[in-house]
Symmetry: C2
Subunit: 141 residues, 2 copies
Amino acid sequence: MSEETRELRKAGLKVTLPRLRILQLLEETDQKHMTADEIYRALLDQGDEIGLATVYRVLNQFETACLVKKHMFDDGSGRPPQACYELHDGDHHDHMVCLDTGEVIEFVDEEIERRQREVADQYGYDLVEHSLVLYVRPRKK
Amino acid sequence: MSEETRELRKAGLKVTLPRLRILQLLEETDQKHMTADEIYRALLDQGDEIGLATVYRVLNQFETACLVKKHMFDDGSGRPPQACYELHDGDHHDHMVCLDTGEVIEFVDEEIERRQREVADQYGYDLVEHSLVLYVRPRKK
DNA sequence: ATTTATGCAAATAGTTTGCACACGT
DNA sequence: ACGTGTGCAAACTATTTGCATAAAT
C-alpha cells in the first residue's frame, strides 16, 4: 500500500483515483505551487480522466484535512485572483514572489516570527495565523 | 474649491460627482476599509445615484492614481474573496484582522520592516512591496 | 449493497466591459 | 460642442453545487 494511500486514510478520506493522482502530482512536481487549473491540465496531459470540479473539491478536502495549504498571491498584477496550492509539510514558512519571473521562494525568519507575536501581544491579542508575502526583484547590479 | 476636487485634479481625473462622493465617503467613514459593495450601498443609502460598475471603475482609477490601496484579506474563512479599499495616506502600515470581530487594526513595526529587507537581500533580491496580515484573537484570560 | 465520490452542466459571486446617453469643461 | 464618464445589462473568471452515474469498501 502506497504512502499516499496511507496519508489519505489518515485524513479520513476514501482512497480514490482522483485524490491519489492529485496528491502524487503535488508531491512530484518541481513547481511547488500550482493552481487548480494547472493541476487539472497536468493530469489531463498525463492521460488521467478528471473533471475540474473534482480538482476543486478534492483540493478543498485536502485543505480541510491540512494536507495542503492554499494561497492567494495578490501581486497586484491586475489579473483576477487565483488560488494556488502547495503540500502542507508541517513546517511553517513564508513566501517571496519574484515580480519579474513569478518564481516563488520559501523562507522562514525567526526574528520576524517573534516580532509578530510581540506586536499582536502589544495590542492585546493572541496571534493565530499570519500571511507574509515579500514581492521582490533581482538585485540590480 | 474643495480639498477633494484638488486631489482629483492632481491625479489627472476629471472631477465628477461619483468620484467626489466615493472620495468623500472614504475620508469620512470611521470604518477605514470598505468593499466595493459597501461603498455602493452606503452611497445609495445617503441618496446618491450611482451604479456598482462605476464604483468598481472609480476605485480602479483611484488605485492606479495611488489615492487608494486595495487589499484582499483572505482570512481563510471560506467565503469568496472580496477586495476592500482604504484611503492611501502615504504612510505604510500592515494589518491585523481579528478573527472574532472582523475588526481591522493597522500597525507598523520597524523591526519587521527592516528584517524583511534583510531577508530579501540575503536571497539576492530587492524588496519592492510586501503584504503582511496577522490573524488574531482577543487574548484569553 | 451501501455509502460516498465523480463528471458534467448549470449556478454563483465578484468584477469587468460594450454601448448609448449624460455630464464636465 | 467636445471628449470623457456613467449606468445598465451582458460578459467573464474563478469556483461551487445539483444530480444522475460510477466507484470504493
